[in-house]
C-alpha cells in the first residue's frame, strides 16, 4: 500500500479525476442543451388519461419525476407526470401534474389534434364541427379535419393580407405623418409663424394622409369580413370552444402521423422558429428579429473594430518606438480584455448615449426633443460599445501575426526600394491578413455572446421594427434591437409563463451556441492553417 502511494499513481489519478469532472461538465452541458433544444419541435403524441375519479386529461407527456416522500420507513417510489394539456384559456394553466397512481387508463385517440394558435398557446382537442359563418360544413372529426386543412391556408392568407396592409401601408402613412409633424416643429423652432404657407401645406398633407389611412382601414375591414370560417372543438372533460380559423397557425394530428410526417412538421416548425416574428410575449413563434439584430449588430461592430484594431496594432508594432512606454500600453490593452463587459456598457451609456448621442440630438434633431433620437440606446451605440470591448482581441491577434512575419520579407521589400508605407501595404498587410481575420472572428464570437453591456445600451425585449426597412435611409442605426442572448434572459427569466417558454429558451440557446461555436471553430481552423504556413516560411 505504502509502495503504491510512493509511486504517486493515486494522486495522478486524482488529478485526472479533476480533468474528467471538468470534461463531463462541458459535454453534459452541451448534451443537455442539444437534447432539450432539438426535441422541442418534434410533435408528440396526444394521450388521453382517464383518472381514477373519472376525470379526463388529454395532452402531451412532457416530464416524469419521482414524488419526494418524507417521513420514516422505506417506501415504494411513486412517480408523477407532467402533461401539456394546452387550452390555457379554458383551464388556466398549460401544464398539469398527474400522479401515476391515479391513472386508470391511457389511450391515444386518433382524432385528437393540436392547434397552434396566435393567442393563448396550443389547443388540444377533437373536432366537433367546422363552419363557414352560420353554415355547417362538416360535423364529424375525420371530415372536419379535411375541411379544416382545406380552408386553413385560404383563411390564413386573407388574415396575413389584412395584417400586411396594416403593417406596411398604415405604417408608411404614419411614418409620413410623423415626418410632416416634425417638419412643422422644426419650422416653428426656426421662428416660422402658424400661418406660414409651408406649415399650412404640411398640415394639409397630414389631413390628406389621414384620409388615406381611413381608405386603407376600409380595405382591411373588407378583408376581415371574409374571415368567417370557424371550428368547434371538444377538449378533455367535454368543454367546447369555437375558434376562428384565421387564429390558427398550424394544425397537426400527431397520433396519425408517420415518422416522415412528423419530420415534416418538425422541419416546418424549425423554419418558423428561424424565420418568423415572436408571438405571445416572445414565448412562441420565431426569433427572426433577434437573429437579425444579433447579426446586424455583429456586422456593424466588425466594421468599426477592424480598422481600429489593425491601426492600433500597426502603430504599436511597426511605427511606435519600442520601449517601456509601448510595453506598458501593450499590457494595458491586453488587460482591457479582462475588464468586465458591464464596465464597457457603463462607458457606452455615459459616453456614447448621453454625451455623443445627446449632442447629436440637440444639433440635428431638435424638433424631436424631448424624445431622444440618438440620445437613447440603439444598435449603433451597442455595436460601438462592443467594438471597444473587442478591440483588444483584434489588436493582440494582429500583433501576434505581425511578430510572426519573417523579417526577411520586409527587408527584401525595403531592399528593392519600396518605402515603408509600400512595404506595409503590399507585403506586410497581405501576410498578416489571416491573423486579422482570426482576431476578427474571435471578436465576433465574443460579441455575439455578450449580453450584459447590451442590456444597458439598446437591447429591448420586443423591437417594434427592424433596424433595416424600406424607409429612407433604410439603415436606422438609432433604433433599438433584439438580440438572441437577451432573448434567452428575457424569456427565461422575465416571462410570465416560464414553464411554457422554457423549451423555447433551450432552442434559442442552441441557436446562439451554434453561432458562437461555429465562429470559434473557424477561428481555430484559420489559426492552425496559419501556423503551418509560417512554420514553413519562418527562418
Amino acid at each position: 500500500m505504502k509502495e503504491l502511494y510512493r509511486t504517486g499513481d493515486p494522486l495522478i489519478w486524482l488529478t485526472g479525476g479533476a480533468l474528467a469532472f471538468s470534461l463531463l461538465m462541458v459535454v453534459g452541458l452541451i448534451a443537455l442543451i442539444m437534447y432539450n433544444g432539438l426535441g422541442f419541435f418534434w410533435p408528440k403524441d396526444i394521450v388521453r388519461y382517464t383518472l381514477a375519479d373519472g376525470r379526463q386529461v388529454m395532452g402531451q407527456l412532457s416530464e416524469r419525476e419521482e414524488i419526494p416522500q418524507f417521513g420514516e420507513g422505506k417506501k415504494e417510489p411513486l412517480w408523477r407526470i407532467k402533461v401539456k394539456q394546452g387550452n390555457r384559456d379554458l383551464y388556466g394553466a398549460d401544464f398539469i401534474w398527474i400522479n401515476e397512481a391515479d391513472i386508470k387508463t391511457e389511450e391515444k385517440p386518433a382524432a385528437a389534434i393540436v392547434l397552434e394558435r396566435r393567442e393563448w398557446g396550443d389547443f388540444i382537442g377533437v373536432i366537433k364541427a367546422v363552419k363557414d359563418g352560420a353554415t355547417a360544413i362538416a360535423a364529424e372529426p375525420a371530415e372536419g379535419w379535411k375541411a379544416l386543412t382545406g380552408a386553413l391556408a385560404g383563411q390564413r392568407r386573407l388574415f396575413e393580407e389584412a395584417r400586411a396592409l396594416e403593417r406596411d401601408e398604415v405604417g408608411a402613412i404614419s411614418y409620413d405623418q410623423e415626418k410632416l409633424r416634425l417638419a412643422n416643429r422644426a419650422l416653428k423652432l426656426k421662428g416660422a409663424k402658424d400661418d406660414d404657407p409651408r406649415i399650412t401645406a404640411n398640415l394639409a398633407g397630414i389631413d390628406k394622409l389621414h384620409k388615406d389611412y381611413e381608405a386603407v382601414m376600409e380595405r382591411v375591414g373588407a378583408i376581415r369580413a371574409k374571415l368567417t370560417w370557424t371550428v368547434v372543438l371538444t377538449g378533455a372533460g367535454g368543454v367546447e370552444k369555437e375558434l376562428p380559423l384565421y387564429m390558427i397557425v398550424r394544425a397537426v394530428k400527431p397520433n396519425e402521423l408517420s415518422v416522415f410526417g412528423k419530420a415534416g412538421v418538425y422541419l416546418s416548425k424549425i423554419w418558423e422558429f428561424i424565420s418568423a416574428d415572436p408571438r405571445e410575449s416572445n414565448t412562441e413563434g420565431g426569433v427572426f428579429p433577434a437573429i437579425f439584430g444579433t447579426v446586424l449588430m455583429v456586422m456593424v461592430m466588425s466594421v468599426a473594430v477592424t480598422p481600429m484594431g489593425v491601426l492600433g496594432a500597426f502603430y504599436l508594432r511597426e511605427y511606435a518606438r519600442q520601449g517601456v512606454f509601448v510595453s506598458a500600453v501593450r499590457i494595458a490593452v491586453n488587460n482591457l480584455a479582462g475588464v468586465p463587459s458591464i464596465v464597457f456598457g457603463v462607458f457606452g451609456v455615459g459616453f456614447f448615449i448621453y454625451f455623443v448621442g445627446g449632442s447629436i440630438d440637440s444639433l440635428f434633431f431638435p424638433e424631436a426633443l424631448p424624445t431622444p433620437t440618438y440620445g437613447t440606446g440603439g444598435i449603433l451605440w451597442a455595436s460601438l460599445t462592443l467594438a471597444l470591448l473587442t478591440v483588444p482581441v483584434v489588436i493582440v491577434a494582429t500583433e501576434e501575426g505581425l511578430a510572426a512575419i519573417p523579417r526577411n520579407l520586409r527587408e527584401a521589400s525595403l531592399g528593392l526600394g519600396a518605402t515603408k508605407f509600400e512595404t506595409m501595404w503590399r507585403v506586410v498587410l497581405p501576410a498578416v491578413m489571416p491573423s486579422i481575420l482570426t482576431g476578427l472572428i474571435l471578436a465576433m464570437a465574443r460579441a455575439a455572446g455578450e449580453v450584459a453591456p447590451l442590456m444597458i445600451t439598446g437591447v429591448v425585449k420586443l423591437a417594434p421594427s427592424l433596424p433595416i426597412d424600406g424607409y429612407f435611409p433604410f439603415l436606422h442605426m438609432e433604433r433599438k434591437f433584439m438580440h438572441l442572448g437577451f432573448h434567452i434572459y428575457d424569456v427565461g427569466f422575465q416571462s410570465p409563463n416560464v414553464d411554457a417558454a422554457r423549451p423555447m429558451v433551450y432552442t434559442t440557446t442552441l441557436l446562439l451556441l451554434g453561432i458562437v461555436l461555429a465562429l470559434n471553430l473557424s477561428a481555430i481552423v484559420i489559426r492552425n492553417k496559419l501556423k503551418k504556413k509560417f512554420a514553413t516560411s519562418a527562418v
Binding site: 491601426l311 458591464i342 526600394g417
Partner: protein
C-alpha cells in the same frame, strides 16, 4: 513572441536623391509622391494608433468624470439680500418653487414678498386676527399654524400657483386660505410655541401657553352620507410633567406623538393616540444643562432634529425595542455643533437635508442620512428664521433685525458621502446602523440607501465560492494534461476546454438559473459530498487496478489512458454521492435538509443560491485558469523534468517538486486572471442568484453583485442623478479591481517567461 525590429528604414544609399540622374527611369515627381505618401501614412498610423489606444484608455477617464460630482463639496453663493421691512421682523417665510414670490408671517399678520425685484409687498388682510398679534408660527409644506397673543390658534393654507400666460413670462400667484381661529385659552394667555400635524384622522395643533402647559386643538371631519363633512374641533389641555419650562414643541406627521423640549435639556415624548388623555411616554436628556431650543422633523417625518442652547444639533429616531411594537427615542447622529445656541431650523422638501441657524449669526447645512454638515455661512446678526427653497437650490435666512439674505445652493448629491457608500448608516426605520442598498422606494419621502458594501460583499462572495470550485479542478486538470497525458489525447482535451471558454455567459446563467437551481435543490447534500466520494472512488479503484491488473497489460496502455477509465469512474462517483446524499438526508437530517437547516442552523434556503452560482461561475472560470496554467506548466523547459526523471524521481515527484514550483508564478497569474473574470461576471450572477443585497456568507443564500446591480438598475437611473453616478462608481470599482489584478498577473507572467528563457 520576438520583438520585431520596427524601425527599419530604406537605407540612405538606396534612396534615389532628387538630383539623381535616374529621373528618366523614375520621374522625380512620382518619387516625391511616394515619399509624401509614406510620410502621410506614417503620420496617419501614428495619430490614428495613438487616438485609438487613447480612446480605449479613455474609458477610465469618462467613468471618473461621471463619478467625480458625487464627491464634490456642495457650493453656495451669496445671493439676494433685502433690507429689513418696517415693523416687526418676520417669524416665518415661505418661497415658491422658482423663488419669484414669497410669503412672510410677522406679528401683524401676512405680507407678500416679490423676490424677483427684491421688494417687500403689501399685506394680506387676515380679518380673523382681530386686534391680536401673531406670537408664534409653524409650517408643514403649504399648511401653516399661527399662535395668537389672545390664546387663539389658526390654521391657514398658502399655495403658490404658477401659470404661463400666452407668450408671456412665468407668473406666480399666491393664494391664502385661512380657517376660523380656535380658542385654546379662554383667559387670553398668548400662545408661546406652536406645533402642527396634518394627522391621520384630522389636523392637530399643539400650543404651549404658560410655562408648562400644552393645549391641543384637534379637528375631526365627520363624514356624512350626503357628502360634505361637518368639522368638529375638540380642545384638550394638559400640564406637561417636566423639570424645566417648555422651550420647543413639535409633532409627528401622523399626529400620534408630541415632542416637548424644555429649558432643563429634556426631550419629552407624549403619546396622542388616545385623544382625550395625552400620555407621557418617555423623557430623555439631550445635552445636560442646555435648553432644547429647536425641534423639528426632516422630510418624511421620521428623523427628529434637536437643537440646543449650547449649539448642539442631533438626530433622533423612534426605534423599536426588541420584537414588540414599543418604541423608544434613540439618538442616531450628531452634527457639527454651532458656536452659539441654535435658534432656527428649516427642512428641505425633497430630501433629508436641513439647515440650522444660531444666535451668533451662523447658519449650517446638514444632511440627516449621511450625518454630514457640509456648509457653514454667517449673517450679521442672530438668526430669527430660516427657509429652504422647494427645489433645494437656495437657503433663506432672516436675522433678528428683519434683514433677509439668500444663498444659492448647488448640492446635487447630498445623500452621498464616503460613510454612506461604504460605512454603516442608521437609516430611518432601522433598529441599528447597517449596510443597506435600496436605491428606490415607493414614496416621495423615501430615504435612498446607497451602501455599496453589500454589493462588494456579494461580488466577493460569489467570486470566492466559484474560485473554491474552479481552482482545484482547473489546476489539477492542467497538471494532468501537461504532465501525464499523451499528446494525442491532449489534442482532443484542449480544444474541448477551449470550447468551454467560448460558451456565452448568458447560456451558463440560463442553465444555472432554470435547470441547475431546481436540480441542486433536490441533491444539495449529495453535491456537497461529491468531492469526498469521487476522491474515495478513484483512490479505491486505483488500488484495485494495481492489485488486479497484471503489469503486462498496464505497460501496453498508452500513457494518459487513465482518462478513459476515469470518466466512467467520475460519473459513478457522482451518482454514488447523490444516492449517499439522499441516505444521509433520510438518516440524519430528518428527511429534508432544508427543514433541518432552518431548524438547527437557522439558515433559510433559497433555490437560486451561492452554490449554484459557484458551479456556474466556476464553469466559466475553469477554462481560463486551465489554459493559462497548462501553458505555463508545459512551457517549463523539458531538460528540468528530464533531469529529474533521470535521477530516479517518479513522474509524480518530478511534477510536484520540479515542474510545479517552476510554473507556480504562471499558475498564480492564471488564478488572478480567473479571479478578474469572476469579479466582473454579470449574466451568471444576474440569472442564478435572487439578487437580494444581503451580507451573509451562507452557501444557501443568494446575493447581489456589483455587476448585476449595474445591469438591473442603470436602465432605470435618470441621467446625472445620484443613482446614475453611484452605478458609475460601482463600475469604476469593478474596473479598478480587475485592471489591477490583471496587470499584476500579466507582469508576473512576463517575468516568468523571461526566467524560462534563462533556464
Amino acid at each position: 513572441m520576438n520583438q520585431t525590429e520596427s524601425t527599419i528604414q530604406p537605407e540612405p544609399a538606396l534612396r534615389p536623391g532628387r538630383e539623381s540622374g535616374r529621373a528618366a527611369a523614375r520621374p522625380s515627381s512620382s518619387f516625391d509622391t511616394r515619399l509624401r505618401a509614406d510620410k502621410i501614412a506614417k503620420v496617419m498610423v501614428t495619430v490614428g494608433g495613438i487616438a485609438i489606444i487613447a480612446s480605449i484608455l479613455a474609458i477610465l477617464f469618462v467613468i471618473i468624470i461621471e463619478v467625480y460630482p458625487l464627491f464634490q463639496d456642495p457650493e453656495a453663493e451669496p445671493g439676494v439680500t433685502m433690507a429689513a421691512v418696517e415693523g416687526a421682523a418676520p417669524l416665518l417665510i415661505m418661497v415658491d418653487e422658482y423663488q419669484q414670490a414669497g410669503l412672510a408671517v410677522d406679528a401683524n399678520g401676512l405680507r407678500k414678498m416679490t423676490l424677483v425685484s427684491r421688494e417687500w409687498g403689501g399685506r394680506i388682510a387676515l380679518g380673523a386676527l382681530g386686534g391680536a398679534t401673531v406670537t408664534s408660527a409653524t409650517r408643514h409644506q403649504r399648511e401653516m399654524a399661527l399662535g395668537l397673543s389672545d390664546g387663539r390658534v389658526m390654521r391657514l393654507e398658502a399655495e403658490f400657483t404658477t401659470t404661463y400666460p400666452e407668450g408671456g413670462q412665468r407668473h406666480v400667484e399666491l393664494n391664502v386660505n385661512a380657517d376660523e381661529p380656535v380658542t385654546v385659552r379662554a383667559d387670553g394667555q398668548p400662545v408661546r410655541l406652536i406645533a402642527y400635524s396634518p394627522g391621520e384622522e384630522g389636523q392637530i395643533i399643539a400650543a404651549a401657553t404658560g410655562a408648562r402647559e400644552v393645549s391641543l386643538a384637534r379637528t375631526v371631519e365627520s363624514r356624512s352620507l350626503m357628502g360634505g363633512g361637518e368639522k368638529e374641533i375638540t380642545v384638550t389641555r394638559f400640564g406637561a410633567d417636566t423639570k424645566g419650562d417648555i422651550t420647543a414643541l413639535t409633532m409627528d406627521l401622523r399626529g400620534e406623538s408630541l415632542f416637548i423640549g424644555t429649558a432643563a435639556g429634556e426631550l419629552v415624548r407624549v403619546s396622542l393616540v388616545n385623544p382625550q388623555t395625552p400620555l407621557h411616554v418617555e423623557t430623555v436628556t439631550v445635552t445636560p444643562g442646555a435648553p432644547v431650543s429647536v425641534l423639528g422633523f426632516v422630510f418624511g417625518g421620521r428623523s427628529l432634529i434637536v437643537g440646543d442652547g449650547k449649539g448642539g444639533v442631533s438626530g433622533w429616531l423612534l426605534t423599536r425595542i426588541g420584537e414588540g411594537v414599543e418604541t423608544r427615542l434613540q439618538k442616531t447622529c450628531e452634527f457639527a455643533p454651532h458656536a452659539a445656541g441654535v435658534t432656527a431650523f428649516a427642512v428641505s422638501q425633497r430630501n433629508k437635508g436641513f439647515i440650522t441657524g444660531d444666535s451668533g449669526g451662523g447658519v449650517r447645512l446638514h444632511y440627516a442620512t449621511t450625518e454630514r454638515t457640509s456648509l457653514a455661512f454667517s449673517t450679521d446678526g442672530p438668526v430669527a428664521s430660516l427657509a429652504m427653497a422647494p427645489k433645494y437650490d437656495a437657503l433663506w435666512a432672516i436675522t433678528s433685525t428683519g434683514g433677509l439674505r439668500q444663498w444659492t445652493l448647488d448640492d446635487p448629491h447630498p445623500e452621498i458621502s464616503l460613510k454612506a457608500l461604504f460605512g454603516e448608516v442608521w437609516y430611518e426605520g432601522y433598529t441599528k446602523p447597517d449596510y443597506v442598498w435600496q436605491s428606490t422606494g415607493g414614496t416621495d419621502d423615501f430615504e435612498s440607501k446607497y451602501s455599496l458594501s453589500p454589493l462588494i460583499y456579494g461580488t466577493l462572495k460569489g467570486t470566492f465560492y466559484s474560485m473554491v470550485i474552479a481552482i482545484p479542478l482547473a489546476v489539477l486538470g492542467a497538471l494532468y494534461t501537461s504532465q501525464f497525458m499523451h499528446p494525442s489525447i491532449r489534442g482532443v482535451v484542449k480544444p474541448t476546454v477551449e470550447i468551454m471558454a467560448a460558451l456565452p455567459s448568458v447560456v451558463l446563467g440560463f442553465i444555472a438559473g432554470l435547470w441547475m437551481a431546481p436540480m441542486m435543490e433536490k441533491i444539495a447534500p449529495g453535491v456537497l459530498l461529491m468531492p469526498l466520494v469521487i476522491t474515495a472512488v478513484i483512490l479505491l479503484s486505483v488500488t484495485l487496478w494495481r492489485a488486479a491488473v497484471p503489469g503486462r497489460v498496464k505497460r501496453r496502455l498508452t500513457k494518459g489512458a487513465e482518462l478513459l477509465v476515469l470518466i466512467p469512474l467520475t460519473l459513478f462517483g457522482g451518482w454514488l454521492s447523490i444516492r449517499l446524499g439522499y441516505g444521509i438526508e433520510e438518516l440524519f437530517l430528518r428527511g429534508d435538509y432544508r427543514v433541518w437547516l432552518k431548524e438547527v442552523a437557522g439558515i433559510t434556503f433559497d433555490q437560486r443560491n451561492t452554490l449554484v452560482v459557484g458551479f456556474a461561475m466556476g464553469f466559466a472560470v475553469i477554462p481560463i485558469i486551465f489554459t493559462i496554467s497548462e501553458d505555463s506548466l508545459s512551457n517549463v523547459p523539458s531538460h528540468l523534468s528530464a533531469g529529474s526523471l533521470a535521477l530516479g524521481a517518479t513522474p509524480w515527484q518530478t511534477a510536484m517538486n520540479v515542474v510545479l514550483p517552476a510554473a507556480s508564478p504562471g499558475i498564480f497569474s492564471a488564478i488572478m486572471i480567473g479571479f478578474g473574470r469572476a469579479v466582473g461576471e454579470t449574466m451568471i450572477v444576474l440569472m442564478a442568484t435572487g439578487n437580494t443585497p444581503v451580507m451573509d456568507m451562507s452557501l444557501f443564500n443568494g446575493f447581489r453583485a456589483l455587476s448585476a446591480n449595474i445591469a438591473v438598475e442603470l436602465p432605470e437611473a435618470p441621467e446625472q442623478g445620484t443613482l446614475y453616478r453611484v452605478l458609475f462608481l460601482a463600475a469604476l470599482l469593478l474596473f479598478c479591481m480587475t485592471f489591477i489584478v490583471n496587470t499584476v498577473a500579466e507582469v508576473i507572467r512576463l517575468r516568468l517567461r523571461r526566467r524560462y528563457s534563462e533556464l
